[in-house]
């Protein structure tokens, strides 16, 4: 469904991503793991077109999307949940969710999707009229994912959903990520928490200094001695 070929991202002279190639199949959850600064977020930002790639191609559902404007990416069905959550702090939870449906017009469907999001995250329903900036970190992450779902995407790009959250909250977020995936969503998941990411995905890619060094089935990567040593703290 998503095909990234030879993607290259640079900040001035610094090569953040060095021609990486990977793909995500429909209905699959793929984890992109690696240490801080490996180039994971740059990869995701380049796919979402928030960042310009220097080289390479990105195809989505057979269509070339590497040159699209950032606001058109979501219209193709790719929803980015940005790093650090990026909720609209001075809008309420409900307003944030409605914003997620910005590209759509039919109000009836939006109401239905709101129910769907509240189904995944009952906590958001309770906090509906609260300002997003006053939510806890975990709740903001829920809101960011919920907002992305409101656009009815074909694919979710999740950038470090566990970042800065308490372990119990991380568990909760990942339960929902798995539930969303189980309902048929295609997900590209970026994580430093390699264990959790591999446990929640079918396949994984390991990134190191801007290059993909390993890839394979998540279960296999979890057992790989090299991956275990480098990323699972063993």
């Amino acid at each position: 469904m998503l095909e990234v070929t030879g993607l290259h991202v640079a900040y001035g002279g610094i090569q953040a991503v060095r021609s990486i190639t990977f793909h995500v199949n429909e209905g699959e959850t793929v984890a992109l793991i690696g240490a801080n600064g490996a180039g994971k977020t740059s990869t995701l930002k380049a796919i979402a077109r928030v960042l310009d790639a220097v080289g390479g191609d990105v195809h989505f559902c057979g269509e070339k999307i590497g040159k699209l404007a950032p606001h058109d990416i979501i219209r193709k069905g790719i929803a980015l949940v940005p790093e650090g959550r990026g909720v609209f702090p001075r809008l309420t939870v409900l307003e944030n969710l409605h914003m997620g449906a910005f590209i759509r017009n039919a109000t009836v469907d939006v109401e239905k999707d709101l129910k769907m999001v509240y189904g995944y995250f009952p906590r958001l329903k309770e906090r509906e009229s609260q300002l997003a900036g006053t939510l806890s970190g975990g709740e903001q992450q829920m809101l960011a994912i919920g907002r992305a779902l409101m656009s009815r995407p074909k694919m979710l790009l999740l950038d470090e959903p566990s970042m800065g959250l308490a372990p119990i909250m991380v568990q909760k977020i990942f339960e929902v990520v798995r539930a969303v995936a189980a309902d048929g969503m295609t997900i590209l998941l970026i994580e430093q928490n390699a264990k959790l990411a591999l446990q929640s995905s079918q396949r994984g890619y390991v990134m190191e200094s801007g290059e993909i060094t390993f890839n394979g089935e998540s279960a296999m990567l979890l057992d790989d001695p090299k991956v275990r040593a480098a990323y699972l703290g063993e």
Partner: protein, 353 residues
């Protein structure tokens, strides 16, 4: 008593309308100077609401707003004065002025699209100064703006034979020039209030809010941030252009001096002090910041005489001191402005700041 609800009720609107109509006649009892001050208060309401679109709604800190006002003012001055011997009618000049200001807004906006906060403020500040310096120096090799001397004998606003300068008899009342301008300005201000209200609750308004809150997230949910930021600049600038035109006609004289940085800062202060993004707040801010310095101008001298029997400090400098102090106090005790939007008030309560 909730003021917001009061102004939305029929009785509230009727009271407000009666007040607005009576105001210039009451002010005239203190002399035409006060009517003129009122005119400026309304003109600044107009300007502040224009800037509110850029700063309050879209969250783009613009320190060069006065440049668009200058573009509008000089458009009127050049097209309706003996300087070029042109005397075009209002329905031609005002749209041209607004259009040119709008164009200037886009010209300023496009190179600054990737800038935010402090950086944007510095670039817009520079732009404002560039426009002023241009006006100051465009008298050679071709004399376009007449340089620092400015342009004089500018035509007043007129609709056919109806002139806005001088006194006319209307329904047995003697209505002075400033009073007529007052009503014109009030009409324009009401128009810009309506436009502001409509924008705030529209799809465009919500997109602006999103950009203000988080630009990357705004892009990610499908908002064309480039076009919408340009639109904010263009709309704000157009209002500035219209206000400039009326200013030019009202004064009969323009010079680059009127468009200095301090003017941009004053308008921004009106928006921030009143309550950024909240229309009643911005109106209050504009009226207070126009009227307060004038009240101080006339009040500080006599007050000293009454209290101490002699002049202790020069009223002119004391006036700015009191004014500055008032600004500091408001920001200290009402950080969201004198009349912030309900959302902003709530935010302050919830976060306990």
């Amino acid at each position: 008593m909730n003021f917001g609800h009061f102004f939305r009720s029929t009785v509230g609107i009727a009271t407000l309308a009666a007040l607005l109509v009576a105001l210039p006649f009451v002010a005239a009892m203190g002399g035409q100077a006060w009517v003129r001050i009122l005119d400026f208060a309304i003109l600044y309401v107009f300007l502040a609401l224009g800037l509110n679109i850029v700063v309050g709604l879209a969250g783009l800190l613009d320190l060069g707003y006065i440049a668009f006002y200058a573009v509008g003012a000089y458009t009127w001055a050049l097209l309706a004065s003996p300087h070029f011997g042109l005397h075009w009618p209002i329905w031609a000049i005002l749209p041209i002025g607004a259009g040119l200001a709008c164009l200037a807004g886009v010209v300023l906006g496009s190179p600054t699209l990737k800038l935010r906060g402090d950086y944007l403020a510095i670039v817009t500040l520079g732009f404002g100064e560039i426009v002023r310096i241009f006006l100051n120096n465009l008298n050679a090799p071709f004399n376009i703006t007449n340089g620092p001397q400015g342009i004089t004998l500018i035509d007043p606003v007129s609709f056919g034979a109806f002139q806005f300068s001088g006194t006319t008899q209307i329904l047995g009342f003697a209505v002075s020039g400033p009073q007529k301008y007052y009503f014109l300005l009030v009409a324009l201000a009401i128009l810009v209030v309506i436009i502001n209200l409509r924008l705030q609750n529209s799809r465009i308004g919500r997109a602006w809010q999103a950009i203000r809150e988080d630009e990357i997230a705004a892009k990610a949910i499908g908002i064309n941030t480039r076009n919408l930021k340009l639109l904010a600049f263009a709309m704000g600038a157009s209002f500035g252009g219209v206000a400039g035109g009326i200013f030019s006609a009202m004064q009969g004289f323009v010079s680059p001096e009127s468009f200095s940085l301090i003017e941009s800062i004053m308008i921004l202060a009106m928006v921030v002090l009143g309550g950024m993004g909240h229309i009643p707040g911005v109106i209050l801010g504009a009226v207070l910041l126009t009227v307060l310095p004038e009240v101080l101008r006339y009040g500080v001298g006599p007050l000293q005489m009454a209290l101490f029997g002699k002049m202790l400090a020069d009223p002119e400098s004391l006036r700015m001191l009191v004014f500055g102090l008032a600004l500091v106090l408001v920001m200290r005790f009402k950080p969201a402005g004198l009349w912030p939007s309900p959302e902003r008030q709530r935010e302050l309560q919830e976060t306990g700041k």
